[in-house]
Amino acid sequence: MTFFNARSAWSIYKRELVRFLRTAFQSVLSPVLTTSLYFIVFGAAIGGRMPDLGGVNYAAFIIPGLLMLTLLGETTSNSSFGIYMPRFTGTIYELLSAPVGVAETLVGFVGAAMTKSLILASIILATAMLFVDYTIAHPILAILYIMLVAASFSLFGFILGIWADNFEKLGIIPMLILTPLTFLGGTFYSIEMLPDPWGKIALANPIVYLVNGLRWTFYGTSDVAIGISLGLTLGFLTICVAIIAYIFKTGWRLRD
């Protein structure tokens, strides 16, 4: 008997994407509208009065941060809902009773969440083009980095979806922790602009490394070294995989 059944993983992946497409209008329109509003407010209204940051026009400077803002929120929500809803409605019985292990489950759920995130990232970048001229310095690295972040936060969302035992808990981490940290993580400014000690305190915010990692792939310049951003993101991904493997091994919240 095989240890990975590609057909099982593909079935989960396909079903999750179909679920996403059921609400495609809302899923697509929402990031387009939000990104447009950010560009209107921060790009056009305020951005005109801001100096270039690291040699990058302010409206272009905020693109990686805006992308990360949407990416983290949507990826975490998609993934957490993806596993929480079957738990809530009871349909998870089918997944648990199938000959499906942690690998197929993650490839299916997390792969679908990553795909959704890449679709959203493309939409956001296309929307950004309507407001500002920009070129991506390292496009392949940018795509890989987006995929890495999407994978990490899909796994994180998956853990949230298993941990949460009500809708409030499901929303509390993205709303009260992720979004504020992303806003304070250098989305709209360079942390070098912050006075002491806030500049140093900002370095304790993990989102700073994500935003700056992506910003480096876009413009070749950032507040922190790309190696540190990459290392921390990979570390986060590894921790999430380890937690999920533990959850499947013990059955915590799944087979209690």
Partner: protein, 320 residues
């Protein structure tokens, strides 16, 4: 009809499940299910029926004990075992927005099988769902939704199928329909384990019956053997005139007079016909003694009577 063999398809040994809150849902359960049989697990609410099914199907992690299905240990070789087990849950739990055919195809894929439109069509037709294949599940009636769950469970062609309260909350007509369906699945050689509140259901279909209460299996036996061993005959003879006491000519074990002394009652036998013979003897004895009667009401105890008696007896024992 496929006859059940004595070859065990599922062997449960010392299975215990204690939930985090302390509830002991299964208490050292031993059970063996034979290939091709239809086994009915009877028990009151909270007896542990669903937990037992959950433990075999991978929904519940056992606290201790072993489960072997198709000679595979479910703790280690769960992939091989689960690929041959199907489950129809008690709740109507499925993605209600999905069309019927896609939902069933998903179940087949989830179990790692290649798409097979012909097989899916066959399953849907056998459950009278083919005309509804493009309908969203949410638009179907309760009975049709339950059929969809059965179709999903059959999509990977399981050899062992669990039906958890398959007729709970459905009307009499649909229940009869469901019994036919279950019978047809059994004809195809699927081993079926069903839990039910309706003893009539077990009486109608099961080869063997298990009775579970408070996480313990009280009894497992062939249905006919259980009725024969524990069944009784009850007769109530309405007398033309009240009797002061039971005359010596008709005194026999199991015979007593009611308080108004107008009804002579008998309870005895063992479900094998012995009780009926004793009632016949009793009526002859009444005639010989010159005691006239105006009516006889005679009944054999059903599986339900046995079930209720057994539970009451165990309840009394546990109180004592």
């Amino acid at each position: 009809m496929n006859s059940p063999s004595m070859q065990p398809i599922l062997e449960i040994s010392g299975l215990t499940k204690r939930y985090a809150g302390g509830l002991l849902a299964l208490d050292n359960v031993d059970l063996s299910i034979n290939r091709g049989e239809l086994f009915a697990l009877l028990g009151p609410n909270g007896a542990g029926k669903t937990t037992l099914i959950g433990a075999v199907c991978g929904l519940v992690r056992p606290t201790s004990g072993t489960i072997r299905a198709f000679s595979h240990d479910l703790a280690t070789d769960w992939r091989s075992a689960r690929s041959r087990i199907g489950l129809v849950p008690q709740e109507l739990a499925t993605d209600m927005f999905e069309p019927v055919e896609r939902a069933v195809s998903y179940s087949r894929g989830l179990f790692g099988l290649a798409p097979d439109k012909a097989r899916i069509e066959e399953i849907l037709r056998s459950l009278s769902l083919w005309d509804k294949r493009n309908d969203r599940i949410m638009t179907l009636s309760g009975g049709m939704k339950r059929r969809v769950l059965i179709a999903k469970a059959l999509a990977h062609e399981p050899d062992l199928l669990f039906l958890d309260e398959p007729t709970a909350g459905v009307d009499v007509e649909l229940r009869r329909d469901m019994w036919k369906l279950i019978g047809a699945m059994r004809e195809r050689g699927v081993t079926i384990i069903l839990t039910t509140h309706y003893i009539e259901e077990a009486e109608e279909m099961a080869d063997r019956v298990g009775i579970i209460r408070k996480g313990k299996i009280l009894m497992v036996d062939d249905k006919a053997a259980m009725v024969s061993r524990l069944g009784t005959t009850e007769a109530h003879i309405t007398l033309a005139e009240p009797l002061a006491e039971i005359p010596a000519q008709i005194a026999m074990p199991g015979v007593h007079l009611d308080e108004e002394r107008r009804v002579l009652s008998y309870r005895g036998g063992d479900g094998s016909g012995k009780g009926k013979a004793e009632v016949a003897e009793l009526t002859k004895a009444l005639i010989r003694a010159g005691i006239d009667y105006t009516g006889i009401d005679i009944s054999e105890s059903s599986l339900e009577d046995i079930f209720v008696d057994l539970l009451e007896q165990r309840e009394a024992e546990s109180v004592a």
